[in-house]
């Protein structure tokens, strides 16, 4: 494991209909869908925390 500290992904301008998709994807990657903030225009900013990544793919 080259990186044990984890990674944070911040996505902005995410439409409502994609929230469930990213939540399920984050879970399948072993991560957490930790924050959802609605933007003034109605879209969302989301934060996904992922566990320590392994660039080798294993």
């Amino acid at each position: 494991m080259a990186n044990q500290t984890g990674e944070k992904v911040i996505l902005t301008d995410v439409p409502f209909e994609k929230l469930v998709f990213y939540k399920d994807w984050a879970t399948s990657l072993g991560g957490k869908f930790t924050s959802v903030q609605q933007e003034p225009d109605g879209e969302f900013t989301i934060v996904i925390l992922l566990p320590g990544a392994d660039p080798a793919g294993g």
Binding site: T5, K8, V9, D13, F21, S28, I48, L50, A53, P55
Partner: protein, 282 residues
């Protein structure tokens, strides 16, 4: 202490005969001595000495012209509760009822007020006499860099409504705690590790190639299949030299250009061996 005692308990001259006296003294020292056989290590000493005291008059009662403190409190509480009950159906706002009853019941010159707890399990709902609401905090922290000598001291003092409010907030206890040096060092280390965590940001942009990737991801029917497809995505990202990690994949899916997404799909077709999964990429 003799001075405080004289003020606090001279019942005839001083009407504040119901007094809370609170005093502490704290001494704190750290001494690091070098071994007798070593002439290179220095010896450190840290000293700390602190004293504080509170003299707080509670009720200005007790002379022959005023009822005894306990009788006064009991009688006033009864009257306040009766007043509150009588106004309950007329004035819905409890604060307004309290203000009206205080003005009606409490005699002038009494350093008391009426209060109930925050809720039934914190202070209770019954109205009670509250004398002074006081909060004080004393804290100190010391240390010597290089010697690993550290120390922390904390002390709080609260009465009345302030104590109720303080007790109702679980974070206050944590904030006033002085963490043990070892725990503080571990916390600092954890924060440093978190600060080193890689952060990827992307602005969402939709597209046809994004839909293909989404279909591929959503096509997994089991957790095992989802893991296999996620691993393939990361491997394809590496082969296309678009990134190395799951965070890179998410960022590309959400906010990458359609051209880069297409490059990912082309590499994914090379590493994907399952026919059903390949159909999801079309």
């Amino acid at each position: 202490m003799p001075v405080l005692g004289g003020c606090a308990f001279h019942r005839d001259k001083n009407p504040h005969n119901d007094v809370l006296v609170f005093a502490t003294q704290t001494k704190f020292g750290v001494d690091i001595s070098a071994p007798a056989t070593s002439a290179t290590l220095p010896a450190f000493s840290v000293g700390y000495n602190r004293s504080e005291a509170v003299w707080m008059p509670l009720k200005p009662n007790g002379t022959k012209d005023h009822p005894a403190a306990d009788a006064f409190a009991e009688d006033t509480v009864t009257k306040l509760n009766q007043c509150d009950a009588s106004l309950l159906s007329v004035v819905a706002d409890r604060a307004k009822r309290n203000a009206a009853c205080l003005a009606a019941v409490l005699p002038a010159g009494k350093y008391v007020s009426m209060s109930s707890g925050i809720k039934n399990d914190i202070g209770g709902n019954a109205l009670e006499i509250d004398t002074y609401s006081v909060f004080a905090s004393f804290g100190a922290r010391g240390g010597i860099s290089g010697s690993q000598a550290n120390g922390g001291l904390a002390q709080i003092f609260a009465t009345g409504i302030a104590a109720q409010r303080l007790a109702s907030n679980p974070q206050v206890g944590n904030a006033l705690n002085v963490a043990a040096p070892a725990a503080a060092a571990e916390e600092a280390k954890a924060q440093a590790e978190e600060a080193k965590a890689r952060q990827v940001e992307a602005k969402y942009s939709s597209g046809e190639n994004q839909n293909r990737i989404d279909t591929y991801i959503k096509g997994a029917k089991t957790p095992e299949e989802a893991k296999r497809r996620n691993d393939n995505l990361i491997l394809a990202m590496q082969n296309a030299q678009l990134g190395n990690t799951a965070a890179d994949v998410i960022a590309l899916e959400a906010g990458g250009s359609e051209a880069k997404r297409n490059a990912l799909i082309q590499e994914l077709k090379k590493v994907e061996t399952d026919a059903t999964a390949l159909k999801d990429l079309i």
